[in-house]
């Protein structure tokens, strides 16, 4: 199972400080992503859905370290990459907190090293604990050595396709400069001819032609620009691509084209997608599994079929009821949620969804529901899963 998982996110947290006053004191935290855990298998597409402001883009950006996460572990291809982009001092601090202190504490609690390993729930951390107890000093040393080299490896393996095809391409660069930038940075080519051949090849793969190379982004339509963006990410031959609302800025016919292109590229290059979207139709089309986010937390995570057949979290049920039904005979019953999304600065106590939940009970405002597996491969964070019916 370990070998099959490409990306594993453990307890990812990203808070943005709210500063005010002359001295820029931090007066509050926007809890954009609050304790998010999930994993993505090799070659699959995981959809990350939720309404605007629920933290799905922040989660994607934090995974790629375009924002530095506040806490959490991001494991890519069996390697902890969480500390790669931290400064040396902070990386040491992170490793000490994440491994040394945690393992030592557990060792005191369970009194034996084997027990610690047994009680860790995660394959990666089990292996880490094993290595750690063998030689603690060497373990940390080895992790620190990997930091700088790991950075470029991580950048090569994980790429992003952006939401806005207009602002995601530098207006002063030609297509070949834009597409070739990654190859140059990561030294994938040795000379200019190789680079040119590589760019030509990748442009053809995304459905653009060779004579587009010397043009500027403003000479293209939105769909073509998005193809350029895809080519830019693809030239590094990445394994994971985070698509941040990659089609939401395009009109519907172009959306279908781009989604089909992504699908065929996925097969050709064995890509893994983390597809961030708010459009459930798009998610249904492309995903294998879907994570539903609400107010910085994942509330439900399961396969696409299960999610659309049998949603368990009341929020998901409400979302599903909002999908327009093209059959006029078949009137669907819509669940209208009351009120607005609460502020992520000051999220509600207990279950973050309880103020808007149609089936909320008193206990929901007190107890935080655990995100746990209810059925095989179906995780939900709700005290009364499946109680809300469509």
């Amino acid at each position: 199972m370990q070998n099959n998982t490409l990306l594993k996110v453990n307890n990812l947290v990203k808070y943005f400080p709210v500063k005010a006053g002359v001295f820029r004191k931090t007066i509050a935290q926007v809890k954009a992503v609050d304790d998010v855990s999930f994993e993505v298998k090799k070659g699959e597409t995981v959809g990350l859905v939720g309404e605007s402001g629920c933290g799905k883009t922040t989660a994607g950006m934090s995974i790629l370290r375009l924002y530095e996460p506040t806490a959490g572990q991001i494991i890519l291809d069996g390697k902890d990459t969480s500390y790669y982009f931290l400064s040396r001092r902070k990386a040491k601090k992170f490793l000490k907190k994440q491994y040394t202190e945690k393992f030592e504490k557990m060792k005191q609690k369970y009194s034996s090293e084997d027990q610690v390993i047994k009680n860790l729930n995660d394959e990666f951390n089990k292996q880490a604990a094993k290595d750690y107890f063998e030689n603690p000093h060497k373990f940390i040393e080895k992790m620190m050595d990997m930091r700088i080299k790991g950075r470029s490896e991580f950048r090569r393996k994980a790429q992003m396709i952006f939401q806005d095809p207009y602002s995601s391409l530098n207006p002063r660069h030609r297509v070949k400069t834009i597409v070739g930038e990654g190859a140059k940075i990561n030294e994938l080519v040795e000379n200019k001819d190789e680079l040119k051949a590589m760019i030509e090849d990748i442009l053809k793969k995304v459905g653009l032609s060779v004579d587009h190379m010397s043009r500027f982004p403003h000479e293209f339509s939105g769909g073509q620009r998005q193809r350029i963006g895809i080519a830019r990410a693809l030239i590094l031959k990445p394994e994971l691509i985070v698509c941040d609302e990659a089609v939401s800025a395009l009109d519907v016919s172009i959306q279908a084209q781009i989604l089909n292109l992504l699908n065929s590229l996925q097969k050709e290059f064995n890509l893994t997608f983390l597809f961030i979207a708010h459009d459930l139709a798009v998610v249904k089309h492309i995903s294998d599994r879907v994570a539903v986010m609400y107010l910085g937390k994942i509330v439900e995570y399961t396969t696409k079929d299960q999610l659309f057949e049998k949603p368990l979290h009341p929020y998901t049920v409400a979302l599903m009821s909002a999908i327009p039904n093209p059959d006029p005979e078949n009137k669907s019953h819509r669940i209208i949620l009351e009120g607005d999304v609460p502020s992520p600065i000051n999220p509600p106590s207990g279950c973050p969804f309880h103020p808007r939940c149609p089936i909320a009970k008193d206990v929901c405002s007190k107890e935080v529901p655990q995100f746990k597996e209810i059925e095989e491969g179906h995780k939900v964070a709700c005290l009364f899963p499946g109680k809300l019916k469509r």
Binding site: R24, R155, Q159, S167, L169, I185, H218
Partner: protein, 291 residues
């Protein structure tokens, strides 16, 4: 490289088809030629060539003659003043505009880069400087500093950098949030290269364009100060100084028109040249305007 050359050719072709751009370049080259060859065109006045030679001790204007083609006012040869004044104009415009731009870019980019209270303090300073009317501030400062062209330059630099600072700050703040900057980061580009390749090209060109357009207006302002008698010293080869001689003859334009028309025309054409060049630069720098 081949690409760059063909680009240059394409650009210059388009440039040559653009009438106003050619006019701007032609005018500007005309002024440059005059400035360079000033000693051959108007002669050189002894050890201080920037002092207009006195040809008469009468303050009465003398209409253009073969010897003094632009006439004489206040005993000074206007032709000499206009020709050598071209050099002064270039000095004034280029020095003021580049110093103001350097200060503005420095303050604006520091402000945008550090943000927080640094930004807050610097922008309030900009506000304070901007709240004083430009001409009034320049007049007061030149009065305090004393006469002389260098003092005028100083005054105009001190009160001329703010708009550049604001422009570059706004541009950097905008460019920093663009997704292509994030994309470059995701590709693994180093921060320094991101600044050089992505942020600066998208922020600096508007400043260059603005700078070229303001060169002309600084010359006008300096001339205005000279006209008011608080600019260059009397007799200095400067278009504004010649104008200041005509102050007393304003009511008798039939006798003194040449003291206004010749330096005035030079000024108008100088400003026009820089504005047209600025327009052309903007078209060149922005790939979106190239078609």
């Amino acid at each position: 490289m081949a690409q760059k050359i063909s680009d240059f050719r394409k650009l210059s072709k388009k440039f040559l088809r653009n009438g106003t751009a050619i006019l701007g370049i032609a005018l500007l080259s005309f002024f440059i030629v005059i400035a360079i060859f000033a000693p051959f065109i108007a002669g050189e006045n002894g050890d201080n060539p920037y002092q207009i030679p006195r040809v008469s001790w009468s303050s009465k204007p003398i209409a253009p003659t073969a010897e003094h083609p632009f006439g004489v006012i206040g005993g000074r040869d206007i032709f000499y003043g206009v020709i050598w004044g071209t050099r002064t104009a270039f000095q004034l415009g280029l020095i003021i505009a580049s110093c103001a731009a350097v200060i503005g870019i420095l303050i604006g980019s520091v402000s945008a880069y550090f943000g927080g209270w640094v930004d807050e303090v610097l922008m309030r300073i900009v506000d304070i400087f901007m709240s004083i009317p430009f001409l009034v501030a320049a007049i007061i400062l030149t009065t305090i500093l004393g006469k002389g062209l260098d003092k005028v330059m100083m005054a105009l630099i001190v009160f001329g950098w703010m708009s550049t600072a604001r422009l570059i700050r706004g541009n950097i703040l905008q460019a920093r949030e663009e997704q292509y900057v994030l994309a470059a980061k995701a590709l693994g580009q180093k921060n320094f290269i991101i600044i050089v390749k992505h942020i600066i090209p998208n922020t600096i060109f508007p400043v260059v364009v603005q700078m070229s357009m303001r060169i002309g207006s600084y010359v006008i302002t300096a001339a205005g100060l000279s006209f008011l008698g608080i600019g260059a010293e009397p007799g200095y080869a400067d278009w504004g100084t010649i104008l200041s001689y005509s102050r007393n003859w304003m009511t008798m334009l039939d006798q003194s028109w040449f003291a206004i028309v010749f330096p005035g025309t030079a000024m108008v054409l100088f400003v026009l040249a820089w504005n047209l060049v600025g327009d052309a630069l903007r078209d060149i720098f922005d790939p979106r305007l190239r078609n």
